[in-house]
Amino acid sequence: MPCIDESGNLTESATALLKALIDNSLTSKEISSKIGVPIFKVRSSIRELVEAELLVEVGEKYEITDKGLSFT
């Protein structure tokens, strides 16, 4: 998985994505602008991070979970 390696560690780009959500929830477009990563890659990473329960979708925005915070 590109966001989480075989040892269970987050990749640099996934960590940057999670950190972008520490202070407030954002849409995928807002995350893309904030961390300077193309929107398609943000959408792909979000899917994995939601599946890993590090993010949750709230309406059109994404929030970091307590589990996600432990990775930042």
């Binding site: 998985m1 590109p2 966001c3 929107i39 398609f40 890659k41 959408r43 792909s44 994995e48």
Partner: protein, 216 residues
């Protein structure tokens, strides 16, 4: 549909581009991940081959210009993701060019078959050199097919992106060899009355009622 028919079926312009979920060098990507932006999906025959290497360098060179135009690039070949990773690392090490875009590892040919990328007369195990331009709504807007032997022209790919985006935004057509800044074609009138009005219209240059150009 027979296996051969599946391999030679082609998508159609103006219709939704065939959907896919693919393993890439940047993780799993879906066609829907590219909504709200233009996408160039292109195939190459194989990693670690010279023509493809020149093309990848070419695509990497126009990547910043494509980004300015809200266009993403996505490569594809029937190679493993490990082969792709090794190849792009080799291109960076030997040629000094970093490949910034993802590449689909289409080992089961699922995406290649949906997009008619395999032409058995050329090869039944490699994709020919295709280019598909998909608009922000997921509609297929352009297809280019090149044979195994001949590399693509990056200048033309940038030119047609400019032309497609101009047609989309300004509702005009573009003449042969059009470049940004050139006059565009005014869509021909559809009635006799409109044809008579067209030739008297100010601000456009008409050779005849059906052949008029204007500045944007």
């Amino acid at each position: 549909m027979s296996e051969e028919e599946k391999m030679t079926s082609l998508p159609l312009l103006g219709e939704p581009a065939p959907d896919f979920i693919a393993t890439t060098t940047h993780g799993e990507l879906r066609l829907s991940d590219f909504r709200d932006m233009w996408l160039i999906l292109f195939s190459h025959p194989a990693d670690f081959t010279p023509v493809c290497t020149t093309e990848f360098i070419g695509f990497a060179e126009i990547y910043p210009e494509l980004e300015k135009r809200n266009v993403a690039l996505l490569g594809l070949s029937i190679d493993s993701v490990f082969s792709h990773i090794a190849w792009v690392r080799n291109v960076e090490e030997k040629m000094g060019v970093k490949i910034p875009f993802p590449i689909i590892a289409d080992l089961n040919m699922e995406v290649a078959k949906k997009y008619g990328m395999i032409h058995p007369g050329q090869s039944s195990t490699e994709t020919v050199r295709t280019v598909f331009v998909i608009d922000p709504k997921g509609i297929l807007r352009l297809m280019l097919y090149y044979p195994l032997e001949n590399g693509r022209n990056m200048d033309e790919i940038l030119r047609i992106i400019d032309a497609l985006q101009t047609s989309e935004e300004k509702h005009v057509a573009t003449p042969a060899n059009w470049r940004p800044g050139d006059k565009v074609i005014v869509p021909p009138p559809k009635t006799q009355e409109a044809a008579e009005a067209r030739v008297k219209e100010a601000g456009i240059e008409c050779k005849d009622w059906y052949f008029c150009k204007k500045d944007l």
